[in-house]
C-alpha cells in the first residue's frame, strides 16, 4: 500500500468522545458514550441492528448533531470542520451511474482535495484497474465497492469511517479491506469500522453498542 504512506502530510488527530447521547425519532440509541482513540488505533464497532452504529459514524463525520455530549479532535481546532480530515464510506458508494469508474473516482479526488492523477494507481491498488473505463452501472455490487475503496487512496486523509466495509465483497476483497485498514493504522491514521467481521488486527479497540435494555 505505497499510496497510504503519503499520509504524513496531515497530522493524524486523536479522537475524544464524551457523554454522547443521540435519539432517532423517539428512541434513545445511546447515552453517556465515551470513546478515546489515539493516532494509529483501529476501533471496531459492533452491536445488534438498529443500535446506532451507522448513526454514531454519521455523528463523528459531522453529518448529524448529537443531542448531548461532545466529539473532539486534537490537535484539530474546533472551528475547522472535521469533514476535511476524514473519509466516510457508508451504505452507498458515492458513485454516479452514467460515469466511468475513472471519472467517478477522479471527481471525488478533486472534491476531497486529493490528486485526480492518482486515480489510475488507486484503482489498480484495489484491483479495479480493468474496470476504469466502464460505466459504474454495469459493475456488480462487489466491483462497485472496490471502486469506492479507491476513494480512500486518491485523497489521503488521516481518519477513516467505514460503515460495513465488507458488504458484497468476495474473499479477496475482504482481505484487501483488512490490508487497507492495517496500512492506514500503520501509517498513523485512525480507523473506525462498523462491522461484525473479524478485523484480525493487533491493538484493536472494541466498542459494543446497545446492551440489553435496563
Amino acid at each position: 500500500m505505497a499510496l497510504i504512506s503519503t499520509l504524513g502530510t496531515v497530522p493524524a488527530p486523536a479522537l475524544a468522545i464524551r457523554g454522547l447521547a443521540m435519539a432517532r425519532g423517539y428512541r434513545t440509541l445511546f447515552r453517556d458514550l465515551d470513546i478515546d482513540l489515539a493516532p494509529g488505533q483501529v476501533l471496531q464497532l459492533t452491536g445488534p441492528n438498529g443500535t446506532g452504529k451507522s448513526t454514531l459514524l454519521r455523528l463523528i463525520a459531522g453529518f448529524l448533531k448529537p443531542d448531548a455530549g461532545t466529539i473532539r479532535w486534537s490537535p484539530v481546532p474546533d472551528e475547522v470542520s472535521p469533514g476535511e480530515w476524514l473519509h466516510y464510506s457508508g451504505h452507498h458508494e458515492g458513485l454516479r451511474d452514467g460515469l466511468t469508474a475513472q471519472d467517478n473516482v477522479a471527481t471525488l479526488a478533486s472534491l476531497l482535495g486529493g490528486d485526480p492523477a492518482r486515480t489510475g494507481a488507486a484503482l489498480g491498488a484495489v484491483g479495479a484497474a480493468p474496470l476504469a473505463e466502464l460505466p459504474v452501472e454495469v459493475l456488480s455490487a462487489g466491483q462497485r465497492r472496490r471502486v469506492a475503496l479507491a476513494r480512500l487512496l486518491v485523497a489521503p486523509r488521516p481518519v477513516w469511517l467505514l460503515d460495513e466495509p465488507f458488504t458484497a465483497l468476495d474473499r479477496d476483497g475482504q482481505a484487501l479491506v483488512r490490508q487497507l485498514i492495517g496500512a492506514q493504522a500503520a501509517a498513523g491514521g485512525l480507523v473506525i469500522a462498523a462491522t461484525h467481521q473479524p478485523l484480525d488486527l493487533p491493538d484493536l479497540v472494541h466498542v459494543v453498542l446497545g446492551g440489553p435494555a435496563s
Partner: protein, 252 residues
C-alpha cells in the same frame, strides 16, 4: 459547539407547560372572540352607514379587509416560528408553524373570495387582475406550497426544518412579488377600473372594522391553540404507538 438540547426538555416539559397555559387561555379567548364578533357584526349591519359611492356593498369590507390583515399577520408569525425552529430549535416553534399554515391559507381564501364577491357589483366582474388580488393569490399559492411540504415529509422535525427554510425564502420573496405585481399592474392597468381603497375612511366605519379585525385575531388565536394541542396529541399518539410496539433499543 456540539452541546445540544437535553432530550427530556425537548420531549415533554415544554409541551406540558404549553398545554397548561393553552387550557387556561382557551375559554376566555373563545368568549372574547364571540363577544367581538357579536359587537362587530352589530356595528357592521346596524350602526355603520352605507358608503356614498358603493352603497351597502361596503359592508363586505368588514369581513374582507381583516382577512387580508390576518393573511399577512399569520405569515409574519410563521416567519417568527421558522426562526424559532432553525435558530433556537425551540420545540414548540414547529408545532405552532404547522398549526398556523392552514389558518393563514383559510384567511387568504376568505380575502380572495369576499374580494371577488365585492368586485362583481363594484367592477362588474368577478375577478380583476388587480395588483392586490393578484398578490394575495400568489400568497395563497405560497401557503398551499408550505402545506404541501408539511404533508410530503414524514418525519415531523425534518419537515419542520424544510418548511422553515421555505417560509424564510418566501418571506424574502413576498415583498419582491408584491413589488413586481404592482409594477406589472401600473403597466397594464385598464383605464375603466376605479379603485376600492377610498382615500379616507370615516370613523363610523373604522370602529366596526377594527373590532372585526380583533375578532378575526381572536378566532385565529383560538384555532391556533386548538390545532397546536391537536398536533401535540398526535405526536404523543405516535410516540405511544411506537413504544407499545416495543421497538428494540428503547432505554428510556
Amino acid at each position: 459547539m456540539n452541546d445540544a438540547r437535553p432530550t427530556s426538555w425537548l420531549q415533554l416539559a415544554n409541551p406540558a407547560v404549553f398545554n397548561r397555559w393553552a387550557d387556561r387561555l382557551l375559554w376566555p379567548l373563545v368568549i372574547a372572540t364571540l363577544g367581538l364578533f357579536a359587537y362587530g357584526l352589530y356595528g357592521t349591519f346596524f350602526v355603520s352607514p352605507a358608503d356614498y359611492q358603493q352603497g351597502n356593498t361596503v359592508r363586505i369590507m368588514y369581513i374582507h379587509v381583516p382577512a387580508a390583515w390576518l393573511a399577512l399577520f399569520v405569515y409574519a408569525g410563521m416567519v417568527v416560528s421558522a426562526l424559532g425552529t432553525l435558530v433556537f430549535r425551540h420545540p414548540m416553534a414547529d408545532v405552532a408553524q404547522k398549526a398556523a399554515a392552514p389558518l393563514g391559507a383559510a384567511f387568504t381564501l376568505v380575502c380572495l373570495i369576499t374580494g371577488s364577491i365585492w368586485g362583481k357589483p363594484t367592477w362588474g366582474t368577478w375577478w380583476q387582475w388587480d395588483a392586490r388580488m393578484t398578490s394575495v393569490l400568489v400568497l395563497l399559492l405560497v401557503y398551499l406550497g408550505i402545506m404541501a411540504l408539511w404533508r410530503a415529509v414524514d418525519d415531523p422535525l425534518r419537515a419542520a426544518r424544510a418548511v422553515a427554510i421555505l417560509t424564510l425564502v418566501g418571506a424574502v420573496n413576498l415583498p419582491i412579488i408584491k413589488f413586481s405585481v404592482d409594477w406589472w399592474y401600473t403597466l397594464h392597468q385598464p383605464a375603466s377600473v376605479f379603485r376600492l381603497d377610498g382615500p379616507t375612511i370615516h370613523p363610523s366605519m373604522l370602529k366596526p372594522l377594527l373590532i372585526m379585525a380583533l375578532g378575526y385575531l381572536g378566532l385565529y388565536l383560538v384555532l391556533l391553540l386548538v390545532r397546536m394541542k391537536t398536533e401535540l396529541t398526535l405526536r404523543r399518539i405516535d410516540r405511544l404507538q411506537r413504544l407499545a410496539a416495543g421497538i428494540p433499543g428503547e432505554r428510556a
